[in-house]
Amino acid sequence: MLEIKNLHVELEEEGKPILKGVNLTVEAGKVHAIMGPNGSGKSTLSYVLSGRDGYAVTEGGATLDGEELLEMEPEERAAAGLFLAFQYPVEIPGVGNMTFLRTAVNAQRKARGEEELSAGEFLKAVREKAKTLKIDAEMLKRPVNVGFSGGEKKRNEILQMAMLEPRMCILDETDSGLDVDAMKLVAEGVNALRDPSRAFLVITHYQRLLDHIKPDVVHIMADGRIVKTGGPELALEVEKNGYADIVAELA
C-alpha cells in the first residue's frame, strides 16, 4: 500500500539532511511500527509523507497504491486515503469541533466524487464513534482542541481518523503525554479500525504503546535510515537494552 523508496529529505531552509535513504513497504492490513532515538527522523518522515512545508526531497520517493504521493497537495493525500495523527494536535479557537469534522469529511467525499453526508447522517456517525472513544457532546461542541487535555486531544485525533476512514494511517508519537488509561482508550480506538484493507504506521519512542497496538513489523530508525527490521520481539529488545546497542552494533 505505502511504498517508500530511497527517500532523501533535507530541511529546506538550512539544507540539513534528515532522511538519508529510507526504504519501507507497508502492506494492506498490517501494522508497522517505527522506533528510534530522538532526532532519528521519525517525525520528519510522517510530515514529509503527509505534505508539510519546509522539507525538500532530494532523492527517492513514496507511493500510495502506486500513486506518487510526494507530488500531491496535503488535502489530495488525505482524499487519497492518508491520515496523520499529530504528535501535537493544533488548537483552532472559534471553529467548532463538529464543523471542522464535517467540513473535513465532506471535503474528502467531494474530492473523491462521492455524495456529501447530510447533517443527520453525519451527526449519527459522529455520536456513535465519539461514544466508543468516550468523547462527550460537550467536547464535540467546543472549538477544535481548545482547552482539551493531552488525552482528549489524542482521542480527538482518533475520532477524526474514525470519521475520515483513511486506508493508510500514520500515528506520530500518539502515546506521548498519555497516562496508561488514556493510552488504552486510544489503542482501543485504533484497534477497532484495524481492517484487512487498512494499514498503520505507528511511530513511537517506547514499546509500551505496542503492548496495546500489536505490530506485525517493527523497524528501528537511526540517523535518517531504517537500520533494522524485525518482528514484535525487536520492540522488546529496545525496551530492554535501549537503542545504543542496536546502533553500535551497526556502526
Binding site: 503527509s50 505534505g51 508539510r52 512545508d53 497537495e73 496535503p74 488535502e75 493525500r77 488525505a78 482524499a79 491520515f83 496523520l84 499529530f86 494536535p89 493544533v90 483552532i92 479557537p93 472559534g94 471553529v95 471542522f100 467540513t103 473535513a104 469529511v105 471535503a107 474528502q108 474530492a111 472549538p143 477524526q160 475520515l164
Partner: protein, 434 residues
C-alpha cells in the same frame, strides 16, 4: 485646549471655508446645540495629519468641500437581516425614505424623524442632541462629530421605554455617485428598557454619522452594524455613549471594503456596575483601490466596579491598511474597574499594514486593566493541520480567518444575528479568495 494652541491660520481658513460651503439647517429645538457645535468646530478646526489622532489616517477626503465620486454598486447578496423580524427604517443618501420604511410603530419605543421632530420640542432629545458629542470632545477633539451636530440634515430620535419586542434596523441605501450624507441619531434608553439597533448599508459616497446613546440605569443597548461594501465610499462615524448604573452597552461593527472608514467610539461609564463592550471585525481588500480602516476608541471609567472590553480584529490584503487607536481612561473614583483591550490584525500578504496605538491611563489604584496588540500571518501549522484532514487550502484559510475573528463576533449576544454576520463574512471571503 490643545487644539486651540496648535491651530494655525491655514487650519482656520480651511475650517471657515468648509463651514461656509456647508448647508446649515437652522434647526428648531436643536438650533442652540447646532450653534454651539459650530463654535466648537471653529475653535478646534478641521483635523490635519500632524494631529495626534490623525497621524495614521489622512483626513483630506473628509475635509474636502465635495465628496470624491463613489458609484453605488449593485447588490449581490440579499439585504443583511432581511430574514429577521424587525422594524426597518431606510435612508437613501442620508435622507429618510418613509415609503421604503416600515411604520414607525414599535411597542416600548418612540421614534421620530429628526428632520420633522426638529419643529416640535422633544424635551428628552433636547437633553441629548449634541450633548454627548460635546462631552466627548475632551480631552481629544473630534471635529467631524461637531461638524455633524451642526450640519446634520436627517436622522432619528429614539426613546426606549420598555423592552423592545424586535430590533430596529436602519438600512442606509447609497444611490448618488456624489452623495454627501450627514446623519445624526439620538437614542435614550430609559431605566430598565432594552433595544437592539441594527445598522447596515453603504450609505453614501461620503457619510458622516453620529449616534448618541444614553443608557440609563439598568438599561440595555445592543448595537450591531455592518458597513457595506461600496469600494470608493468614505465614512467617518462616531458613537457617543453614556452608560449608567448597572446598564449594558454593547456595540459590534463589521466593515467590509470602502476606501476610507474612520469609526470612533467614545464611551463614558458613569454609573456603578455598568458594562460596556465595543468590538469590530474589519475585512479589507486593497484590490479595488484603497482600503483604509481606522477604529479609534476612547473608554472612560468614572464609576465603581464597571467592566469594559474593546475587541478589534482586522483581516487585510492587497495593500490594505488597518488602524487601531484605543484608550482606556480610569478616573480616580473608578475603583474595581475591569478594563480589557485587544487589537489584532491578520495580514494575508506583505503589502498590507496594521498600525496600532493602545493607551491606558489609570488614576485609580484598585483596578484590573489589560491590553494587547498583535500582527501576524496565517498560522502555517494550523493551515497544514486542516489540509491534512482533506480540507482544500482556500477553505482551510477561510476557517482560520473565521477563527481569528471569532472573539470579536462573540461580542454579539444574539446567536441569530451573529450567524447572519458570519454568513456575510463567509460570502465575502468566498468572493475574494486567493
Amino acid at each position: 485646549m490643545t487644539a486651540l494652541l496648535t491651530k494655525d491660520a491655514r487650519r482656520v481658513d480651511a475650517t471657515d471655508a468648509r463651514i461656509a460651503a456647508l448647508e446649515l439647517p437652522k434647526g428648531g429645538f436643536t438650533g442652540p446645540a447646532r450653534a454651539d457645535a459650530l463654535k466648537r468646530l471653529r475653535a478646534m478646526g478641521l483635523p490635519v495629519r500632524r494631529d495626534e489622532y490623525w497621524k495614521f489616517t489622512d483626513p483630506t477626503a473628509l475635509n474636502a468641500h465635495e465628496p470624491t465620486a463613489a458609484p453605488a454598486l449593485p447588490l449581490i447578496e440579499p439585504l443583511l437581516f432581511a430574514n429577521r423580524d424587525r422594524v426597518s427604517l431606510v435612508f437613501t443618501d442620508g435622507v429618510f425614505d418613509s415609503e421604503a420604511s416600515d411604520d414607525l410603530a414599535l411597542a416600548g419605543v418612540e421614534i421620530h424623524r429628526l428632520a420633522e421632530a426638529d419643529r416640535a420640542d422633544i424635551h428628552w432629545a433636547r437633553d441629548l442632541y449634541g450633548v454627548l458629542e460635546a462631552r466627548g470632545q475632551m480631552p481629544v477633539a473630534r471635529p467631524f462629530a461637531a461638524l455633524n451636530t451642526a450640519a446634520a440634515t436627517d436622522g432619528v430620535l429614539i426613546r426606549v421605554t420598555g423592552k423592545a419586542e424586535k430590533p430596529l434596523h436602519i438600512y442606509y441605501n447609497h444611490s448618488g455617485d456624489f452623495s454627501d450624507a450627514i446623519v445624526h441619531h439620538c437614542i435614550r434608553v430609559e431605566p430598565g428598557a432594552e433595544l437592539t439597533l441594527l445598522e447596515t448599508g453603504p450609505a453614501a459616497a461620503r457619510f458622516n454619522k453620529v449616534l448618541e446613546v444614553d443608557v440609563a440605569e439598568g438599561g440595555r443597548f445592543h448595537h450591531v452594524r455592518a458597513q457595506g461594501r461600496d469600494h470608493a465610499r468614505r465614512a467617518v462615524t462616531h458613537v457617543f455613549a453614556r452608560v449608567g448604573r448597572e446598564a449594558l452597552f454593547k456595540s459590534f461593527t463589521l466593515t467590509v471594503n470602502g476606501a476610507l472608514t474612520r469609526n470612533e467610539a467614545v464611551i463614558e461609564i458613569v454609573g456603578d456596575n455598568a458594562v460596556a463592550h465595543v468590538a469590530g471585525a474589519a475585512l479589507g481588500d486593497g484590490k479595488d483601490g484603497k482600503y483604509h480602516h481606522d477604529d479609534t476608541v476612547f473608554v472612560t471609567h468614572d464609576a465603581v466596579a464597571c467592566e469594559s472590553r474593546q475587541v478589534f480584529k482586522k483581516v487585510l490584503k492587497n495593500g490594505a491598511t488597518g488602524v487601531f487607536q484605543g484608550k482606556i481612561l480610569v478616573k480616580p473614583a473608578a475603583q474595581k474597574t475591569d478594563g480589557y483591550q485587544i487589537s489584532q490584525s491578520l495580514l494575508l500578504d506583505d503589502d498590507s499594514q496594521f498600525l496600532a496605538k493602545p493607551e491606558l491611563e489609570i488614576y485609580a489604584d484598585d483596578v484590573k486593566c489589560s491590553h494587547g496588540s498583535t500582527t501576524g500571518a496565517i498560522d502555517e501549522t494550523a493551515l497544514f493541520y486542516l489540509r491534512s484532514r482533506g480540507i482544500p487550502i482556500e477553505d482551510a484559510k477561510t476557517l482560520l480567518i473565521l477563527s481569528f475573528l471569532a472573539d470579536a463576533i462573540a461580542e454579539i449576544d444574539d446567536a441569530d444575528i451573529a450567524a447572519d454576520i458570519v454568513a456575510r463574512l463567509e460570502g465575502w471571503l468566498a468572493r475574494r479568495r486567493g
